[in-house]
Amino acid sequence: MSGLLAAAPVLVPLFTAALTVALARRPRRQRAASLGGALILLLCCAALLHGAAGGAVVVTQFGAWAAPFAIVFRIDRAAALMLTVNAVLAVAVLVWPSRGSALATPFGPPLVHGLLAGACGAYATADLFNLYVWFEVMLIAALGLIVAGRTPAQLEAGLKYLVLNLFGTVVLLAAVAGLYGLTGQLGYHALGMALAGRGDDPLALLLGALLIIALLIKASAFPFLFWLPAAYPVLSPPVLALFTALTTKVGAYALLRVLHEVFPAGAPAYTPVLGWLACATMIADVMGAVYHYDLRRILAFHSVSQMGYILLATALGGAAGIAAALFFSIHHILVKANLYLVAGMIARRAGHYDLRKIGALARSERALAGLFALNALALVGMPPLSGFWAKLLILREGFAQEHYLWMAVAVCTGGLTLLSMAKIWIEAFWKPYPAPTTTPGTPLPTRAWASCGALSLLALAIGLMPGPLIDFLVAAAGTMAPPVARPAP
């Protein structure tokens, strides 16, 4: 029974995808089945989370093979929580009105659930080759969603996304094969034991570096980020919200697992480089966000910039660093996906994504302005919103480990994030409308308010009561990582 539950986060979306394919000619039923599947997924994930909160780790070895031979699904606290956040976001995105986006096409619902299956599989698995397979499942579903509209711009974005991600997965497969050749193992746990004493073995370090590079490509870190801002500006808001929550976060999560569970012996060799790459990611991309005027492009550059914080926390390591990385991921999934949806509402009301062509929304759309301001401030890290605690956790651990330069970059990036959010605020909400007459946008459906409002409330709740979540994540990190040595005070 518990074995079935561990596989449920993959089985439910796969089954829903098949069902929605069967219902492709009946749009209303297809949408209902899609939302129903997401709700069942949420229930399964909540059940797993409830079990994990009590300290239970659900392990399934498929095919009844013995320990080092079977493909293993292992759902501990961290995996259960990330799965639940995923499912919450999937429900919110499916509630959001999808008219005019890839989700409204007959291909949309099956592809969304395919993407969910890939992401959930990647969170649940404890096997490197299986991780590669889930990344490919996610990639093909994501590509389908990108090119569903078939406009030349979308095809182009799809090709850029495909080429760089495919290169990443080829590198990933090569690294997995190399590690298998070196140790004869594929499971995280078995690999961790086989690599335990090999922190100075050049071959193991090389293969580990290859694996980390592949995951950095998936997480769109500097200097492998170019596929993301190239693809995102041609997509519709619900697809963007899904992508920002699922694709890059899975890369960062896998990196966390690899660095602290599979090859902790090699971590001292990798973390200094990873820390600097994280700093470059943060600063380079926030510059892009400050430069651009297209709402979606600004937010896309932000997504990458914020990945830098997650990678920085991953590089810091230790229970506190891992807890900070997970906290930041959760905060980012909720707030950033919500900002994409709010951007969609802005574009629907004002008629365009380009900030130079819109304005004066603060007067006509007070509720929308409030929604945007709340999420923008949470992203910047204004106390007492969720972003503040996420950044505080990283800064506290960084100062404790005496990485002052990294922390300086993190603080500067926060300032530039504020600048680019203020830019959206001034251009879209405050400045007068640039054209002589305002073009009336379409009215906003209630479902859009419900979806964005629920996500905002959730993020606000995390901001106002961060204690339980931080305790949970520290417990999750404690079962995941060995303690790090800190400099003596």
């Binding site: 080759f129 590669y132 397979v133 490919e136 990639l139 093909i140 590509l143 090119v147 078939r150 030349p152 711009a153 979308q154 095809l155 182009e156 974005a157 799809g158 090709l159 850029k160 495909l162 080429v163 495919l166 290169f167 080829v170 497969l173 090569a174 997995v176 094969a177 190399g178 298998y180 050749g181 594929l186 801002p229 190239a230 693809a231 500006p233 041609v234 430069y291 651009h292 005027y293 297209d294 492009r297 994504y353 380009d354 130079r356």
Partner: protein
């Protein structure tokens, strides 16, 4: 001997794949990535050790093979990877051809729809 031949072929195919993938022609890029994937598939296979051995079959009633057998794990892995690689090769080539139908050049330098070049005054270009 067989190891050296295998290593040489992996290197050669990977080099050919990288060369094609760095071309500007979109179809060549897709084919190059497929070749690179094929090279990695060979590498996966070689990671399970090469050599002559019996097929990994367990006799009825036994719980383990009695003599030395070939390693079945890389075979399973490489089969999965081939299927996945084939999917992406097809998808990539179809995508490149669809772009060529829109543009008739299929040139990487012509991909400016999703990322418009800057405006003459230095401001960022805009999407339609």
């Amino acid at each position: 001997m067989i190891e050296w031949a295998m290593a040489a072929s992996v290197t050669l195919v990977a080099a050919a794949g990288l060369y094609l993938a760095s071309s500007r022609d979109l179809v060549a890029i897709s084919v190059g990535l497929a070749l690179l994937g094929a090279a990695v598939n060979l590498f996966v296979f070689a990671a399970g050790r090469l050599g002559q051995a019996a097929p990994p079959l367990i006799a009825p009633g036994a719980v383990a093979p009695l003599a030395a057998v070939a390693n079945p794990v890389p075979q399973a892995l490489v089969l999965t990877a081939i299927v996945i690689g084939f999917t992406f090769a097809c998808f990539g080539i179809a995508l490149a051809l669809a772009l060529a139908a829109h543009d008739d050049r299929a040139d990487a330098d012509a991909l400016e729809q999703a990322e418009p070049p800057p405006r003459p005054d230095g401001g960022p270009g805009e999407l339609p």
